[in-house]
């Protein structure tokens, strides 16, 4: 049986209330509905969030089983340099896997998922990790600014131990020009909302769900949960009514708590539904974007095997308000903030060194001495244990999934940072190993010696002169 084996999600720590936006740019005539959006930290983007969701999804599972990674997004940092390959490297997946980017439309999340089912069903792949993640940049004061939120979801697709079987799908495709962003452009353009709502959103979701019901002779009333993005709140309910669904069947859209997360949106809602699902539940998922896909799942007895996921619920509960719109602009690099001349020092990434050290830099892998058992980061050829010193007796050792404690720390006001002070310190890993890391998603006052931390993959810098988005791992207080 083909289906979903595991799920995970990621929602960034910061939330910005729509009032904060209104108070700052309301003069432009934008009147957002009540609610808040999840806002990526200054060191997060679609790739870092995809990795975080992937880690959540693979928690407690062997990474070696994954033989494919599909990334769905409309906000990929690279046009050339495969984003999914970078995510797969960060997740320390094997190299003999299939990777693909699904981009260009907010339905790409469900399309990636469908492609994963195809590959597993066709027995070309065994376990494919699908990550959908979006971190879209909106023009300050635009309606999208309060509509869009940042977030990611991840699903592991396979044919054994499935927690929800894949029962069928139906798709529609239209060159619907509701939103577009041409190559080289920073912001999306959007046609009038009434057009998007009446000619697209309200039409395609109904069409794809009706088509699905008809194709498989299903009754809308049979679904425990019906999932589709909530771009327009009233129309969201109206679609259900037209389909003959009861409002209680509708999965919360996360519209007022996270925002619309684009490619990730239907999959994040699916993850949230799976968190509450019971064996036997039927779940319908539909996406919206240049048409849409609709998929049917049936939850199995194995659903109870998936525990310890942060998924949507725990991430929703773990948050901090970003009360300053100006700070939001700074985080998103939407206003030219002064970092001082120290912040203008250019970083020229040596790409050949990055590739050579990819496991160290991007996967946070070190080594473990086979002679004395000492874990060490970064990878060493000569054992760092002074009582050992063995040479070339190392095996790879992954630190990204190890927890640790703060050995020492500081909050540095001299270091160039868009969010000073720059907090960093030394981390002692559970099981051995010590290194220094930047800390993120934390406030200096809350950091203490001995405090538990875990590791998170983050965007380290963007070097505009060379077009390089650089990534590495940071330590973060364990919050949920």
């Amino acid at each position: 049986m083909i289906g979903i084996k595991s799920y995970g999600a990621y929602i960034p720590r910061y939330r910005m209330n729509h009032n904060t936006i209104f108070m700052s740019v309301g003069f432009l005539g934008s009147f957002p509905p009540p609610g808040e959006n999840a806002v990526a930290n200054h060191d997060e983007d679609a790739l870092s969030m995809a990795v975080a969701a992937g880690i959540d999804c693979l928690s407690g599972m062997k990474r070696e089983i994954v033989d494919g990674l599909y990334l769905a997004t409309t906000s990929q940092p690279y046009m050339v340099r495969q984003n999914s390959a970078l995510v797969a490297t960060a997740l320390d997946l094997q190299s003999d896997i299939r990777t693909a980017d699904f981009v260009g439309s907010t339905k790409s999340g469900t399309t990636a998922l469908l492609s994963a089912f195809d590959a597993v069903k066709g027995e070309m792949s065994t376990n494919i990790l699908v990550c959908a993640s979006d971190c879209r940049l909106s023009k300050p004061g635009s309606p999208q600014e309060s509509l869009y939120g940042d977030g990611a979801a991840s699903l592991l697709v396979g044919s054994d131990e499935v927690i929800a079987t894949f029962e069928g799908a139906y798709s529609v495709s239209y060159d619907f020009p509701d939103r577009w962003r041409a190559s080289g452009e920073k912001f999306e353009h959007a046609w009038e909302d009434r057009f998007i709502r009446d000619s697209g959103y309200g039409q395609f979701i109904s069409e794809v769900i009706s088509g699905l019901l008809e194709k498989y002779k299903l009754n809308i009333k049979d679904f425990a949960k019906i999932i589709y993005p909530g771009l327009y709140a009233r129309e969201h309910g109206a679609i259900a009514k037209r389909l003959g669904a009861d409002p209680s069947q509708l999965q919360d859209t996360l519209r007022s708590t996270v925002g619309d997360t684009g490619s990730a949106s239907p999959l994040m809602m699916l993850v949230a539904a799976l968190e509450d699902a019971k064996p036997g539940d039927k779940i319908l998922v539909a996406s919206f974007g240049n048409g849409g896909d609709a998929l049917v799942f049936k939850v199995t007895e194995k659903i109870g095997n998936i525990t310890d996921r942060r998924a949507v619920k725990k991430h929703l509960a773990s948050k901090k308000e970003l009360a300053s719109y100006e700070k939001y602009l700074a985080f998103k690099n939407l206003a030219p903030m002064d970092l001082g001349m120290r912040g203008e020092i250019s970083i020229r990434t040596p790409m050949s060194a990055l590739f050579r050290e990819r496991k160290v830099v991007l996967a946070l892998c070190g080594s473990k001495c086979k002679k004395c058992g000492t874990p060490q980061y970064p990878y060493q050829r000569v054992c760092v244990n002074p009582d050992c010193g063995a040479i070339d007796q190392m095996e790879d050792y992954r630190f990204s999934d190890k927890k640790g404690v703060v050995f020492t720390y500081t909050g540095d006001n001299l270091a160039a940072s868009i969010d000073p002070p720059s907090v960093y310190g030394l981390v002692d890993f559970d099981g051995g190993g010590r290194f220094w890391f930047d800390f993120t998603d934390c406030d200096l006052d809350s950091v203490k010696v001995g405090m538990p931390v875990e590791m998170t993959f983050r965007r380290r810098y963007v070097d505009e002169s060379s077009g390089v988005h650089g990534y590495s791992w940071k330590a973060v207080p364990i919050s949920a």
Binding site: L354, T410, D412, G450
Partner: protein
């Protein structure tokens, strides 16, 4: 067992420029000024110098690579000139090269000169950049600054010895207040104003828990020494100062990557110190070392160095600081010239600047009577380069 350097080499001349934000001085100017003072003090001429060692750390900010800049600035007549660079131990490395050069018998007279021109970066603090710790580190290390790296040692020291932040900051304030007192009395020092402990404690935070006055000056400057074989020294002057020990120790990676180091001391400082005492025949450093210029890049560095060098027992430096042990009128004066804190810290010159102060004090020639330490026998200099978790420490002991 090696014999060591004790009493094989003598310093016969030294020079040191005023340190500070010297906007109208280039690195060449500083080198020439220090060199002039140095050979005048030695009573020799340029042509008497057989070989030279040249220390500069941030060469990309000033003189460029190699040693040609010094050869050209001083118009040295086609003699061997060697460039040294080893973080903040750069000048001591130049001095070590010159000492070993004459001790070996290869040369009779050698010059060691260090210079640093830091104030052409356009921003405060030391020059930054991704290349400082190598390509791989640029991709994985936190974007740390010097204050941040040493602040982590303060955090750790406070945690290990159970000091509340205000207690720890008070201890460190006394360290800086003492150096400001000394610096205020030194005409060549960069920062020449006394500050109170209260001002120090209430100053803006640079890197928690270190505030502005916990950090040393970022300065331009140069210092130089002329060394010769000990048996020749008295031909040049009646009061040469003899080299008793020269040691350096470098991190093995154990502090940063293994989990034994406590983070509240500098392992290399302890190791180099013990080797230097052995070389110099010092049994009880707390009693025998008359005075020292140690690497107080930050107040916490001086505090732990007192313990690393066994001037104070482990974890007990607070008591000695509070008792005024290291004050100018105390039993073991530390930073009599103001230290890095107030004399200033042009990286590639600092080690020779420290030796300059010890040399003058040993000769009884500290410029002003109130600066002179009474009857010093042995002076120690200590440089620490890099970060507490990954560094180099150099130590020199000189005496009459």
């Amino acid at each position: 067992m090696a014999e060591g350097i004790k009493d094989k080499v003598a310093i016969i001349g030294m020079g040191c420029t005023k340190f500070g934000e010297l906007w109208d001085k280039s690195a060449d100017d500083l080198m020439i000024d220090a060199f002039q003072e140095c050979i005048e003090d030695a009573g020799i001429e340029k042509k008497d110098i057989n070989a030279a060692w040249f220390g500069v750390h941030f060469e990309e900010q000033s003189v460029g690579k190699g040693a040609t800049s010094m050869a050209l600035a001083l118009k040295l007549p086609f003699i061997p000139v060697t460039r040294t660079e080893n973080f903040c131990a750069t000048a001591t490395e130049a001095f070590r090269g010159a000492c070993y050069g004459v001790a070996s018998g290869a040369y009779d007279i050698a010059l060691a000169l260090g210079v640093e021109k830091l104030k052409d970066t356009g921003y405060g603090g030391l020059p930054g950049g991704p290349g400082l710790m190598g390509t791989k580190n640029a991709l994985i290390m936190p974007k740390l600054t010097a204050p941040g790296a040493f602040a982590m040692m303060a955090t750790r020291y406070f945690a290990v010895y159970g000091l509340k932040p205000d207690e720890g900051k008070k201890m460190l304030a006394k360290v800086s207040a003492k150096s400001h007192y000394n610096g205020a009395r030194n005409p060549k020092a960069h920062l020449r104003r006394e500050v109170t402990e209260e001002q120090i404690i209430n100053a803006p935070i640079i890197a928690w828990p270190l505030g502005l006055f916990d950090c040393c000056g970022v300065s331009d400057g140069s210092a130089a020494a002329i060394v010769t074989r000990a048996d020749m020294a008295k031909k040049f002057r009646p009061d040469p100062v003899y080299v008793k020990a020269l040691q350096i120790a470098l991190s093995s990676g154990e502090e940063l990557m293994y989990t034994k180091w406590d983070g509240a001391h500098v392992e290399t400082g302890y190791r180099a110190g013990m080797l230097a005492y052995k070389e110099a025949g010092v049994k009880n450093p707390r009693e025998e070392i008359s005075m020292a210029e140690v690497h107080d890049c930050f107040s916490i560095t001086e505090a732990v160095t007192m313990e690393d060098l066994e001037f104070s027992p482990r974890g007990k430096v607070k008591e000695d600081i509070e008792a005024g042990r290291f004050n100018h009128d105390g039993p073991q004066p530390i930073q009599p010239d103001g230290g890095l804190k107030c004399f200033g810290h042009p990286i590639g010159a600092s080690g020779l600047r420290m030796l300059h102060e010890m040399y003058k004090q040993l000769q009884g020639k500290a410029q002003l009577p109130e600066r002179q330490i009474k009857n010093p026998k042995l002076g120690l200099t200590h440089n620490m380069g890099g970060f507490p978790a990954m560094n180099i420490v150099s130590i020199a002991i000189i005496g009459l």
